[in-house]
């Protein structure tokens, strides 16, 4: 197993290189440049040229790429032209903000959707199942920004139960538990929107997967042994229904760290999603490269985790 993981990690290197070339090229051929966006609009052409040269943008693309690779390998991802800070100082704190929110959503969504999905499958077309079908339809079709605004309107503006936006009360000097509670209060609305959206598709997914499995012959065999329905469903059927769910878990790993761009904007949550959007709008090349590549690597790791998860839950899959 360890050898397999090591081999997969080695295989990732060329993939990451190819991805970085693709990202780099696409970013650079996009019209616009950071020069002028971050400087005084009245600057002269000479000043502009000087800025280009300072940022190394006058060099041919392959040279620029080589420079970038050289720096990055030394752990220097450059300076963000937008925030005027080293990229490696900006990204982690914003990723952490997104992660905090997503981890709640992740836990809630999976903890709720799996039992709900199982019940829906076992009692197909029952009242419970129909309720969750309608719920899922709602969750999938409702745009998150609109649903977010609705929640803000009712629960923040009208009822005043939760703050409208942000991550903590501005200007407050709360410490310890009070600070944590304050942050949790800010988290409720965005987490609700994200959870409902994820729950909707996860419930459908679990339900379909379960429905597939409970029609299998080995479930009938389990029943014919005299096992109780509980054991039949949760031991025999669910272990098999888990296989496709493991894939989903793998996909979720990058989502945990990446921000929901639209939702973070609606709730003014200072997550990585917003930062990435800003970086793109302001052509902040270094920040874009770092964040996009970070997500690419996370996706690769997520896939690897899914494959390892597969091998753990399904004895038919051998990773060696």
């Amino acid at each position: 197993m360890l050898r397999y993981i090591a081999r997969r990690l080695v295989h990732m290197i060329p993939v990451v290189i190819i991805i970085s070339i693709c990202i780099f090229t696409i970013i650079k051929i996009t019209p616009g440049s950071p020069v002028g966006l971050n400087l005084d609009p009245n600057m002269t052409a000479e000043q502009k040229q000087a800025e280009y040269e300072r940022l190394g943008l006058h060099l041919p693309l392959p040279v620029q790429y080589a420079n970038w690779v050289g720096r990055s390998l030394r752990g220097d991802f450059g300076i963000s032209t937008l925030y005027n800070q080293p990229v490696k100082d900006i990204v982690p704190s914003f990723v952490w903000n997104s992660f905090r929110l997503n981890v709640f959503v992740f836990i809630f969504a999976f903890l709720l959707s799996i039992p709900i999905g199982i019940v829906c499958a076992v009692k197909q077309y029952s009242l419970t199942d129909n309720f969750w079908t309608v719920f899922s339809l709602f969750g999938i079709s409702m745009p998150s920004f609109f649903f977010g605004l609705l929640l803000i309107f009712f629960f923040a503006t009208k009822l005043g139960w939760f703050p409208i936006s942000g991550m903590e009360t501005a200007g407050s000097n709360l410490t310890g538990i009070a600070s944590i509670l304050d942050q949790l209060r800010h988290m409720v609305l965005p987490a609700t929107v994200l959870t409902i959206a994820s729950l909707a598709s996860l419930v459908r997914y679990t339900r379909t997967s379960m429905l597939d499995v409970i029609k299998q012959d080995y479930v009938r065999t389990a029943r014919s042994k005299g096992l109780t329905e509980k054991v039949v469903i949760y031991r025999h059927a669910f272990r098999n229904a888990l296989l496709p769910i493991v894939t989903l878990l793998g996909f979720w790993v990058p989502l945990l760290f990446s921000g929901a761009v639209i939702l973070e904007t609606v709730f003014r949550w200072p997550g990585i999603g917003q930062i990435m959007l800003n970086a793109i709008n302001w052509r902040d090349y270094n920040l874009m490269m770092a964040t996009l590549l970070f997500f690419a690597v996370l996706t690769l790791i997520g896939n690897l985790l899914a494959d390892i998860g597969y091998a753990i839950v399904d004895p038919r899959i051998k990773v060696e």
């Binding site: 012959d217 080995y218 009938r220 065999t221 389990a222 029943r223 005299g226 096992l227 272990r239 004895p315």
Partner: protein
Amino acid sequence: MSDKVLEVKNLKTYFYTDKGVVKAVDGVDFSIEYGKTLGIVGESGCGKSITSMSVLRLIPTPPGKIEDGEVLFEGRDLLKVSDKEIRSIRGNDISMIFQEPMTSLNPVFTIGDQIMEALMLHQKLTDEEARKKAIEMIKLVNIPRAEKIVDEYPHQLSGGMRQRVMIAMSLACMPKLLIADEPTTALDVTIQAQVLEIMNDLKEKLNTAIMLITHDLGVIAEMADHVIVMYCGKVVEEAPVQELFDNPKHPYTMGLLNSKPSIIENKERLESIEGSVPNPKFLPKGCYFNPRCKFAIEKCRQEQPTLEEITPGHKVSCFVACKEVE
């Protein structure tokens, strides 16, 4: 106490679909004696499997429903006992082998786990005892390397081995009745013979009664003591095995026997029964077999025959056959 381990009376299992009611099993009677084998024959879709699943109440409800009848196992009506009681019988007193060995074992559990499960549940064996017993059972069905196999997963075994594992699993608790639903259909001929031999062997060792469902008359001849022939959810003929092969009375049974290849008579072409099994939602009026029957008379098209005993132990549901005897 009677010598019958299982007695099924007037069993009716219907399926309620959007397009109408399917009377999959429509008033079936039969019984099995201790240590004997009852063969149930018929074409696909005649209700054989549904009959066997009804005995253990394994019919998915809805859409299926056991509408009427009694299933007396050692005098107890299995259709009336509580869910808990039927579970204590399943896998313990009555167990089943299914048609598809490739899909009937759970792919994510080891062979040992799956055999041990019933033992630990019904016989209250400890982990260790159950494992020992599982290995013993695997040896009993002639699988080599039992100590290794017990920790292997179903996908590591061949179809024939899996079916033998199924047999080991179903016999682990020494059931009084084994329901085998086409146990050899998915296997190749040499493996078929081995599996049947094992079943026969164990029947004698453990005095287990067997309800053997098949469409293969060769298997019936090999295994069964008594045979019932089913057509469209009804029993059309019932007789001891020798009597049935020597002296078939129902035109359907004759048709089945004629369509069997023989190495003694050198037939150019196999005979077949004209037509096909009618759609169970639109059964013909009168005898269900009349549109395909060479001997059908007017009465067959109007009335439904009932199962009549024509000679001791030999029952047939056919106007023409009954008249002949008179």
